[in-house]
């Protein structure tokens, strides 16, 4: 019985993701005084890519890469309850707790890296080295923040963490443990592939990094994931730090606002090099995380 509901969640989130990313892009365009893309542009691009007539494959892992990637996104979404207090939208969270969600993020990353690497394109490999390098530092403050939050609520269950934040805005982790949230949000910036932390893709420099060789339906799958995955990730943040969501409207609003954080930062700052971003995380975000862990 969970499966139809899970599919519904998936459907809602994909559509929401497609529209929201377009909207955010539009907002970014408005900052540059442009009109920006039509709000349905993501759908069109996706249909077009699924509809391309030719495609090539460099090998088995290349073929499977997007499957890994999208499985990672779908899995992440479905392992975390979307709507607090709703049995219908608790998804498959019975399978594992917060730790499962945290580590499942890497499932798609790893599969994608392997697929991109099999194309044999040096830029793919370069993009991956950059991505992985940056990730090691970006994940650290987040891990510390999660640890601090888990310690604070003495549980690793996402549902229980959300439950503990109910009863008013001031019960959110944002206000009960601001240091942890600050550290986690810095890490969030690093994981969203937006400036100043987008040296992984670095269009113009290493075409677009890992997916340089991906196209047509492969690319379409990755686009699907691109709509889905940020939302799924933000759901984790929302549940951990911002009191979760009790209904779909609240869900939409919170996800949008959290997403906007990285969009805001992204339109303002230029790009970091890898070692610069690593240093930035270690110098600014990690101490906050350590403080959060120590002070809990």
């Amino acid at each position: 019985m969970r499966i139809p509901w899970a599919l519904l969640t998936l459907f809602i989130v994909i559509n929401y993701g497609l529209l929201m990313t377009a909207l955010v892009q539009k907002i970014g365009a408005r900052v540059g005084r442009r009109h920006g893309i039509p709000i349905w542009q993501n759908y069109i691009d996706m249909i077009k890519n699924y509809a391309l007539r030719t495609s090539i494959t460099h090998g088995v892992m290349f073929y499977l890469g997007p499957v890994f990637r999208l499985s990672g996104g779908v899995g992440l979404l479905l392992f975390v309850p979307s709507i607090y207090g709703s049995e219908m939208f608790a998804n498959f969270s019975f399978a594992g707790d917060l730790i499962l969600a945290l580590y499942f993020v890497f499932f798609g990353t790893l599969g994608m890296a392997l697929g991109a690497a099999e194309s044999g394109h040096p830029y793919s490999a370069i993009g991956i080295t950059r991505g992985l390098s940056q990730m090691t530092a970006a994940e650290l403050p987040f891990a510390l923040a999660v640890f601090a939050v888990a310690l604070q609520y003495q549980t690793l269950s996402v549902t229980e963490i959300v439950a503990a934040q109910q009863g008013g805005v001031l019960h959110w982790t944002l206000f009960t443990n601001p240091l942890a949230v600050a550290a986690a949000m810095m890490s969030f910036l690093g994981s969203m592939m937006r400036p100043p932390f987008d040296v992984v893709l670095a269009p113009q420099e290493i075409p677009i990094g890992p997916p340089t060789e991906y196209h047509s339906s492969f690319l379409a799958m990755m686009q699907t994931n691109r709509a889905l995955f940020p939302v799924a990730k933000i759901v984790v943040y929302m549940n951990l730090f911002f009191g979760g969501a009790g209904s779909w409207p609240e869900f939409f609003l919170k996800v949008f606002l959290i997403y906007m954080v990285s969009a805001f930062v992204g339109v303002v700052f230029p790009r970091f090099r890898v070692e610069q971003s690593i240093r930035w995380f270690l110098i600014w975000a990690v101490p906050l995380g350590i403080l959060a862990v120590v002070l809990v």
Binding site: R34, H35, I37, I44, K48, R53, I56, I208, T212, L219
Partner: protein, 213 residues
């Protein structure tokens, strides 16, 4: 033929000697084929609509005309609102704008990039150089007719055409696509030998496979 593409003998770790033929061993030898449209017309119509509303341009400025494409991204012209955007890799693009004169040397790269794009794919010739050589009509090193070498869907005349002209050209292209007439990729595959012969008649050092996947 470049030295690195010549056949050679190498020694394997267990001491055997094997022959390496780079063109055969490094590259896919298959040629292009004509790709049929979707099974039903209505779906094909939908697809064509999607293709027309999602033109991804390969960011490859071949000549001086490239300078006229930059303004398209700016607030003044903002091509994004027409579903047009630039992609850094041919794999993900479906529109190749040949922006101005094409020297023989650049033509080689253009052909390779064009073949690496996935169909259906479109070519727009920008400026009079692509039409008849333009001001380079007597140059020893510049081609004069682009459609001898690649299937061109739309020419935009001018030297240089303004961004507005470009936008008009793209709109024209959209119409052609929606009408299902932009079958350049299939045309290229169908007349592959003719195109190849034309290309090889000006590119004397053909140092790549016949079709670059």
């Amino acid at each position: 033929m470049k030295e690195e593409l010549l056949k050679r003998i190498v020694k394997t770790p267990d001491g055997q000697e094997i022959e390496i033929d780079p063109l055969r061993d490094y590259y896919c030898e298959a040629g292009p084929t004509v790709q049929p449209p979707a099974y039903t017309a209505i779906i094909e119509k939908l697809f064509n609509w999607a293709r027309s509303e999602s033109l991804w341009i390969l960011g490859f400025g071949t000549g001086c005309g490239a300078i006229e494409m930059r303004p398209l991204m700016t607030p003044r012209f903002d091509a994004y609102r027409y579903g047009i955007q630039w992609r850094p890799t041919p794999r993900q693009s479906n529109l190749f704008v040949i922006s101005g004169y094409l020297s023989v040397k650049t033509l080689k790269r253009v052909i390779r990039s064009y073949e690496q794009m996935q169909g259906p794919k479109y070519v727009v010739g920008l400026g009079s150089c692509t039409i008849n050589g333009g001001m380079y009509w007597d140059s020893y090193n510049t081609i004069k007719r682009l459609d001898d070498y690649l299937p061109v869907d739309v020419y935009i005349a001018g030297c240089m055409p303004r961004p507005e002209a470009l936008l008009a050209g793209f709109e024209e292209l959209k119409k052609i696509i929606r009408a299902g007439k932009a079958e350049g990729a299939n045309q290229y595959a169908a007349n592959f030998d003719w195109y190849k012969a034309n290309q090889k008649s000006v590119i004397h050092d053909w140092d790549m496979p016949d079709y670059n996947w």
